[in-house]
Amino acid sequence: MTAVNPALPKPTMIEFRDVHKYYGDYHALRGINGTIRAGEFFSLLGPSGCGKTTLLRTIAGFEGIDGGAVLIDGKDMARVPANKRPTNMVFQSYAIFPHMSVGENVGFGLRRDPRSASEKARAVEEALEMVGLKGYGNRAAHALSGGQRQRVALARALILKPKVLLLDEPLSALDKKMREHMQVELIKLQRQVGITFVLVTHDQEEALVMSDRIAVMFEGEIAQLADPETLYRRPNSKKVADFIGTMNFIPAQVLGETGGQIEIEAKGLGRALLSADQCPAGQGDSPMVGLRPETLTLMYPGQTTTERTVDGIIDEVIYFGDMTYYDVYLGGTDVEVRLSMRNTPGRPILDVGSKVDVAWSPEALVLFR
């Protein structure tokens, strides 16, 4: 694998052009557009039934499309069947062949490979070593644990050196510890092999941790396609903001626009000037500003800040060990926000009913209208 110069824009690996898919009367994919770049860790994120798995399966070739085009490496895949596409898949159930050994599973894709038996055996051993299962070749596949099956599925898919590796909720069957462990392993593996990874997940945290870029999908459409930070800091709709992490929504009024800036008045916070990138295109909703819990800071007595402050009353305290969440009424209004504070020595947990000052800054706001 040659290293890709990070300064150069990565070439396109997968392109969706107005992809439509129907199941009977049900419109499962409603005009998907977008590109996935070569060597990228890309996630399709959304609630169940949003079409993310269907979209993944159109890349693999397991689902035909009823309109538009899917291109892989510049080639239209319309007439290319699944077994001829330069993609391999890790299935949600792993789909390990239960009547074969681990080595037979991993080497399955090499059946049509013209190489000699000993070369293939070496390739299998290398693939197993890559996923940390060296020496497992002769074990019965059905006797493995969930995490090991997952690794076998990975090795089996990667041994063919596909242009794209497709992962259909690969971590959903694992327990929390194992899942977090495998997330890091997958990121490392992706960097090591340099193959384009496309991951389907409903877990926004998983998508944020693992991806270079994420497409958030709702009801058969891509709502936003961006890198994790943009998605988190500058969601382009209330729906995306609500799906990714926690977001406080506060009713607001748009007072006017001057020189690319928008002046708003948010209930409980007062007036603020927002830059254009904080104000995504209107969705026709009643205006709201959103802000993340960690952008609000509880001021302890004697503390000073350069940020703006607003007074509040603590309504609820939720202790999480490393963090404490406070629900606070702002500025004597009925507007309640949630804010999170890291628990460090010298920061006592405050009581319900305490009067506090809350620091905030206009840059952290996003306007939805």
């Binding site: 693999a60 077994n83 391999n88 949600q92």
Partner: protein, 268 residues
């Protein structure tokens, strides 16, 4: 046991079921042509007599040809039917599957009569071949039922995985599907074979001049002198059945152990 009546019932039931079968070997080795207690002595003459019966051998050969062919044809048809009914959906599927399964509850007499009428009308000579036709008709629903449950428990993504790794539909079927439904195929072969071997009405109606085992045994019971030899034959059939069942069960268990599946119980 809370209800002693139930225990007595269960024991009585088992005796009623198996005692007659136990009588077969007892009288097959009894040194008398009269089937009655007390037993008069030990002999293997009846087995020798049976062994020397050329007509019996012919009937057995016919039966084996019929049952073997029936089992294979019905199971192959069953694989197609079960695959279609579990994997694909198409208009009229429910009705079609219903029609395939109908012979399961259709009186054999009706099947036998209607087939006989049709075959005579189109002047097909009655023979082993026509019996096979009739038997395939009545055993295919059993094959479809057994194989459907085998196909149903197959994870669809296994096929997709094989396809994804470069195999075509035919090699995927051979490499993945077939080995995983093999226990079901063995069950189906065995059940269809047994049903066909046992079957009397269709065999009697459609065999023409050929005799099969079931109708031959029945005809021999008209001659009291022949009965002990038939009991000897029955004894051998019981032994062969037990042997076959044990072999099939062995393969079924081995298949389950190999794929790490859960044993969901008995043979059927």
């Amino acid at each position: 046991m809370k209800a002693p009546g139930l225990r007595a019932y269960a024991i009585g039931y088992l005796i009623f079921l198996y005692a007659p079968i136990i009588l077969l070997p007892i009288f097959a080795f009894n040194d008398s042509r009269i089937i009655a207690f007390p037993l008069s002595g030990f002999t293997t003459n009846w087995f020798a007599e049976m062994w020397a019966d050329a007509q019996l051998w012919q009937a057995l050969r016919n039966s084996l040809v019929i049952s073997g062919s029936t089992a294979v044809i019905a199971t192959v048809l069953g694989v197609f039917g079960a695959r279609a009914s579990t994997r694909y959906s198409f208009p009229g599927k429910g009705g079609l599957v219903g029609l395939i399964m109908l012979p399961l509850v259709l009186p054999e007499m009706i099947v036998a009569m209607s087939l006989l009428v049709v075959l005579l009308a189109i002047s097909v000579p009655l023979s082993i071949f026509t019996v096979i036709l009739g038997h395939v008709l009545i055993t295919t629903p059993f094959a479809v039922a057994i194989l459907s449950s085998a196909f149903q428990s197959l994870d669809k993504s296994l096929e997709e995985a094989a396809y994804d790794l470069g195999e075509g539909p035919v090699s995927t079927f051979r490499l993945i599907i077939l080995p995983l439904v093999a226990p079901g195929i063995i069950s189906s072969l065995l059940i269809c074979f047994t049903i066909s071997l046992d079957e009397f009405i269709i065999a009697y109606f459609l065999a023409g001049a050929d005799t099969v085992l079931s109708s031959y045994i029945y005809s021999q019971f008209r001659f009291p002198a022949k009965v002990p030899a038939m009991l000897a034959l029955g004894t051998i059939l019981v032994l062969v059945s037990v042997l076959l069942l044990s072999i099939a069960e062995f393969f079924r268990r081995r298949g389950i152990a190999k794929t790490g599946g859960k044993d969901t119980g008995g043979f059927l």
